[in-house]
Subunit: 335 residues, 2 copies
DNA sequence: TAGTATTATGTAAGCGCTTTCATTTATAGC
DNA sequence: GCTATAAATGAAAGCGCTTACATAATACTA
């Protein structure tokens, strides 16, 4: 692989000049620039980005930590982030945190030691305090899908409480009064927030969540089917169930069918996230849209703006969920 | 951030010694090693991986190029790869190729300029020749889900032809004789191979694929629903349809339902890939298992073995698909 | 045309490590 | 105690760039 030195020799100029034409910020005469460009072309020169990083102490790489690499949710998110950075000539280094504190901290460490210019963190298990401490170190970061008041300026988040509220309100508006709830792991903020929204909607109707109709799931399909079975086993009547995400809703749908129930005839189901496959379940899942791809883009743009100083970029930090009514919710039977 | 120099000063040794204890291959006396370790600890020293890379000309990073970052298939694949490398202390740089030639070549370029020690490529649009040329350059790479005869030793692939054969054989064994086919984009090798398997199975029954019952889709849900509509519109009777992947099968299932058909009562449907959600469709999708996660692991291990010389690792290069019978395929009505 | 302000280019000192080679120190043999 | 050998450590030259700073070339002014 050719080095900058060989280019400079061929072009008959100094190293510095070659470097200048690469980072075409400084003025170089048109003639010289062309000579250099020609030499680069001829040698098939490509800059060694490691050397560039070392010399300039910017690595042009951004570390991304997500809980998982698979799953519709994270996939969308990563796509949004990658697209934005790729266009800007930056690259992403990705690690998975698996929603475990140790793994997440480890991942952050790993990314930091890779000299990332910035980090985009989708972390669930580390404490707020850990993040606050981290914010005092040199590597800037932005939090996706998390609200830490002390770090508000670096949070890109969805109003999960509102989403939970919207879901339950929808059910309520359709006449449902006995509503089951299959939650996410309650140690996760978003799971809690969604549930709080649920409670708020309920309280507007002078209702309260029924403990017997509450199940704490795991945000995965199996959690949804297990949850539905528990709800059914409770013996308590219900005409609707809200699932804290689409994957659990999908599991619940499948379980319902297996147990001989029909949705929405026997009871309605609503999900959360509006992941891609929600449209392909049967019945089509009513859900709350989570603009995760847009939020991924936004996190990337935050970095572009704050870290790479592309000041013209606008960043939206708080996103709002909205209802996507489809076929899994119907009016409550009037009894 | 502390540098190696500060560590060496604090420990009262030379740079070289500190470097040695980091790469603990060379012999350093126990006493010195402890002094250095203590100094590192005290300074919170962490090596600058960029500098390490420049000096050692290994970057400890592996470039991954996939078609998309989202979707159940790629998600699984990335998870497999990341897990393997993370454990080995390597990191992955990920780019998306979007199944377009220019974007893929661009992505490869991008990754190479990032000084990756190796590349794992899931490319569909670049030519075999391009890859052969690439193999002559210095960056080693392994191909996932692609068979290039001249590069056989760096291909990790599935026998797609066999998979296609298994799917159709299953249908045939259930008595189906009129079988529709919703293919992937036929310029993609895997789509073609699967179709060839389909033809082979058919020929064993002295049957041939019916052009009127063939639709070239796009491997996505919409392609499946469009495909099914075309099949239905053709006026040709059929009792089963094979979809070249699960996403199209899911789309076909949804479309069938919307048009008033029942699967598998009116016709059977079989997919391909066995992605996570195939179990949650209605009816549960019969499909062909594609061990993509295992293959992702294997691609990573190929790199560990070939590039990082971890010779104890075993690598399996060709994987076999197998049938997962579920509920979307039933026996053909005996007429 | 000398004098000054601009612009273009070159020189050279790092960036924080690895690694070769030379040197010092410890170990052993006689 | 003195050499021969091995083990531990240090000195220093890069890796391929960026970036002050210095200098040379050109343009502009009076």
């Amino acid at each position: 692989m050719a080095t900058i030195y060989q280019v400079s020799e061929l072009a008959g100029v100094s190293l510095a000049t070659v470097s200048r034409v690469m980072n075409n910020n400084v003025r170089v005469s048109e003639a010289t620039r062309n000579k250099v460009l020609a030499a680069m072309e001829q040698l098939g020169y490509r800059p060694n980005s490691i050397a560039q990083s070392l010399a300039s102490s910017r690595s042009n790489s951004i570390g991304i930590l997500v809980s998982e690499l698979h799953g519709p949710f994270y996939g969308e998110m990563l796509t949004g982030i990658e697209a934005e950075f790729r266009a800007a000539g930056k690259h992403v280094i990705i690690a998975a945190g698996h929603s475990e504190r140790a793994t997440e901290e480890d991942g952050i460490d790993f990314l930091r030691s890779r000299n990332c210019d910035a980090l985009i963190l989708h972390v669930e298990a580390v404490s707020d305090q850990f993040l606050i401490d981290l914010s005092k170190k040199e590597t800037p970061f932005v939090l996706l899908n998390r609200q830490v008041p002390a770090l508000a300026d670096r949070c890109i988040s969805l109003d999960n409480e509102l989403g939970g509220y919207l879901a339950t309100s929808h059910l309520l508006a359709q006449g449902h009064r006995h509503i089951g709830y299959i939650a996410g792991p309650m140690w996760k903020t978003d799971a809690r927030d969604r549930f709080h929204g649920h409670q708020r909607a309920l309280s507007e109707y002078q209702l309260a969540a029924d403990d017997a109709l509450f199940f704490e799931g795991d945000f995965r399909e199996t959690g949804g089917s297990k949850g539905l079975q528990m709800l059914l086993a409770s013996g308590r009547p219900f005409s609707a169930v809200v699932c804290a995400n689409d994957e659990m809703a999908s599991g619940a749908l499948t379980a319902a069918r297996e147990l001989g129930y029909e949705v929405p005839a026997d009871f309605s189901v609503i999900g959360f996230d509006n992941v891609n496959f929600a449209y392909y379940t049967y019945p089509k899942l009513s859900t709350i849209d989570y603009p995760i791809s847009a939020m991924g883009h936004m996190a990337a743009r935050w970095v572009l703006k704050q870290v790479y100083k592309q000041s013209s970029i606008d960043v939206q930090q708080v996103f709002n969920p909205y209802l996507i009514p489809r076929d899994s919710v119907a009016e409550a039977a009037t009894t």
